[in-house]
Symmetry: C2
Subunit: 241 residues, 2 copies
């Protein structure tokens, strides 16, 4: 969430507000790099706020200048900077099937790991009522998820794996995608099939693991994804809605 | 600590071992980026091991493949990779005057914050018995610190601030260097004066805050530092001993 104004201070980060979609390391560790005495708003659901509040290292986020806001699932929230000024964007969080963060796991039983509050998607609406839906991790496209996606102008969706056992085959991991809370792109129960009928302006696979063959531009998997109307995210990609 | 061998696996980090000199965010947060299922040795003193062990997020470092070694202050430790193979380097940790990490602070009283075990320096010896002394944070150059530095081939020393109230003057912070556990470079009780008589091959200021005028190449402060026989670290600097 970039704020255009430069306050002229000696140290400046253009980030006015951060909305956290989960408590995994890749969602929250970046906060440790935003600790340098600059005002910041942090929006997070109860599960993630509990993680941050209960973890001593996140005390480096000085509560005198960092404003922690709740992110209710039941209503649209107008985003504000740390001083309370509206940023012109509103966010609606919604539950997405997923699992608790890896470091919170105490069992290997998927039933214990599933969570209805640990993983959320975000529906973000800007000044021209254009809407972005952001779902970086998703274990299953339920009817509730489909309703959130419906008529979005832009969809960012979990593109972690092409197929469930891909990391095991590549020798880079011992877990299936399902075990990690990620559905795959391909297959009858994959995200391409599940979202084939979705009415969305533009669909982009994001959060792509380095074992996923869609990262190779000339792969048949990349071609299949494009043929199904998806774009593949890359570093530095920009959009304007 | 880079290891030359490439094990040919699909994911590879050249880092075989990490030696932690403190528990501050800038010392330990990088571990969260080394969590991807690769063997790794981590060496740390008791204080830092307690921090890592007591903080849930560091559970992403899988104990099945990440080997945590103790770093005793009383003896030289031969560094090994996660499988126990010697890396050809030995490390001797020594206590340095400093303070506990910011996020562990519960008072503003410097006496409570001072610690004899939270901050360490490292004396690292390679195959040709060349020796590097690494002290990224230091509140005072004591006789014990001087003895460790004596006859090092290369010294990396805490160059955070030029003068104690520099961050307050620049409007980037509310704390003095002393309050943060850092002595300044300049002044009668500064590090330049304290280390003027040290017998060291090469002296480099590292860990330089962005308010420190020695970062401006043409500043009188940079000239003063160079005239006193110091070099000023920069990104990508390399040494061969």
């Amino acid at each position: 969430m970039l704020h255009p104004a430069d306050d002229g201070s000696a140290r400046h980060s253009p980030v006015s507000a951060v909305v956290l979609s989960g408590g995994d390391v890749d969602c929250i560790a970046g906060l440790l790099s935003l600790r340098e005495s600059q005002p910041l708003s942090i929006y997070a659901g109860d599960h993630v706020r509990a993680i941050l509040g209960g973890n001593q290292i996140f005390r480096v986020l000085d509560h005198k200048i960092v404003n922690f806001w709740s992110l209710p699932m039941t209503q649209e929230t107008k985003l504000r900077d740390a001083e309370g000024t509206e940023l012109g964007l509103s966010v609606q969080a919604f539950a997405v099937p997923g699992k608790i963060p890896l470091y919170q796991e105490t069992s290997d039983d998927l039933r214990d790991l599933a969570s209805t509050s640990a993983v959320i998607g975000l529906s973000i609406t800007g000044p021209q009522s254009k809407r972005l839906v952001y779902i970086p991790g998703c274990a299953e496209v339920t009817d509730a998820v489909l309703r959130q996606i419906d008529r979005a102008d832009l969809l960012f969706f979990d593109g972690t794996l092409w197929q469930d056992d891909e990391m095991i085959r590549a020798g880079t991991g011992r877990k299936t995608g399902r075990r990690m809370g990620h559905m795959s792109i391909s297959g009858e129960d994959g995200s391409m099939a599940a979202l084939a009928g979705a009415t969305v302006g533009k669909k982009i696979f994001i959060h792509i693991n380095n074992t996923n063959p869609i990262l190779c531009e000339d792969s048949p998997q990349a071609a299949a994804v494009r043929a199904a109307g998806w774009d593949i995210a890359f570093d530095g990609m920009e959009f304007r809605l």
